[in-house]
Amino acid sequence: MESIVFYIIALIMVTFAVMSVSSRNIMRSIVYLLFVMIGLSGVYFMLDFSFLGAVQLVVYAGGVIILYITSIMLIEKIGESMDKPKLLQQIIAAVITSLGAGVTLFAIYSYNFNMVADINNITTVEDVGFALLNYGENGYILPFEIISMLLLAAMVGAIVIAKSGKSTNSNELKN
C-alpha cells in the first residue's frame, strides 16, 4: 500500500519535474515546481520525518516559490513564454543527462546497501532540536550558528545588490 502511494508520488514528481523544466511559460513552470516540492514533502512524511516535510512545505511552498513569483512580477513579464532551446542542445543535454543518470543508477544498484529493518523510526521535532543544540559529538550547534552568518551575508548581499543606488556616471552602464 505504502509502496503504491510512493510510486504514485514518485510518478507525479518526475512528471512535474519534467514539465517544470520544459514548460515554456514561466508561471506554469513555477507551479509545476511547487508540485514537485509538495510531492517531496510527501515523501518526507512517508519517511516518518514529518518535521522536514513541514519545513519543506513552509520554506518552498510558502517562501521560495513566492519569492520566484514576486521576482517575476517585479520583472513584469509574467505572460511571456521562454525561448525554446535549440533542438541539438536539447538532444545533447538529454543524452548527457540520461547517461549521467544511467551511470549513477548503475553505481547505486551495483552497491549492496546494508539496509536496517527499523520500521518505526520516527524523527520527532524533539530529536531535531536536540541535535541542533548539542555541542558535542553529533551536535549541530556550530553549523546552526554559522548558518545565521550565512543568512546574514546572503541578506546583506541580496539587499546591496537589489537596492537601487544612484549612479553618478551613466557612462558606466555601457561597460
Binding site: 509502496s3 510512493f6 510510486y7 514528481m13 518526475v14 519535474a17 519534467v18 517544470s20 523544466v21 520544459s22 513552470s29 515546481l33 514537485v36 516540492m37 517531496l40 515523501v43 518526507y44 512517508m46 519517511l47 520525518f49 522536514l52 519545513v55 519543506q56 520554506v59 518552498y60 521560495v64 519569492l67 520566484y68 521576482s71 517585479l74 520583472i75 521562454m82 525561448d83 525554446k84 532551446p85 542542445q89 543535454a93 538529454a94 543527462t97 540520461s98 549521467g100 543518470a101 549513477t104 547505486i108 546497501f113 546494508n114 539496509m115 536496517v116 527499523d118 523510526n121 524523527t123 531535531v128 541542533l132 550565512l150 546572503a154 548581499g157 541580496a158 545588490i161 537601487s164 552602464l173
Partner: protein, 105 residues
C-alpha cells in the same frame, strides 16, 4: 522507511529528479528557469540524505539535519540569485541567457 519500497527505489527517484534538474539547467534559456532547475537538484540531494539516513543509518539523524541545512541554504541562495537576476534585468532588460555572452572565448 516506507514499506515495500527499498532504498534503491528512493535513490532512483532522487537521481532521476537530480538529472531532470541538470537537464533543465542545461537547456533553459531563462535565468529564472535555470534557478528553478537548481532547486530540483538541491531538493533531490536532500531527499538522498533523508532516505539514506532512514534506511541505512537510522541511529542518528545526520542526514535529516543535513537536509534541513540544504533547504535553508538553498533558500538563501535563491534569494541572492534572484537579487542578482533582478539587478541584471535592470541593466539588460532581459532574462534570456543569450544576452549573457558579452564575455566569452
Amino acid at each position: 522507511m516506507i514499506l515495500g519500497v527499498s532504498i534503491y527505489e528512493i535513490l532512483t527517484l532522487s537521481t532521476i529528479i537530480f538529472f531532470i534538474g541538470v537537464y533543465g539547467f542545461v537547456t533553459r534559456k531563462n535565468l529564472i528557469g535555470m534557478l528553478m532547475a537548481v532547486e530540483l537538484i538541491l531538493n533531490s540531494t536532500a531527499l538522498n540524505f533523508v532516505a539514506i539516513n532512514k534506511y541505512l543509518y537510522p541511529d542518528l539523524i545526520e542526514g535529516g539535519i543535513f537536509s534541513l541545512f540544504i533547504i535553508a541554504i538553498a533558500a538563501a541562495e535563491t534569494a541572492l540569485a534572484l537579487a542578482i537576476i533582478i539587478n541584471l534585468y535592470r541593466l539588460v532588460m532581459s532574462l534570456n541567457t543569450d544576452n549573457l555572452e558579452t564575455m566569452k572565448n
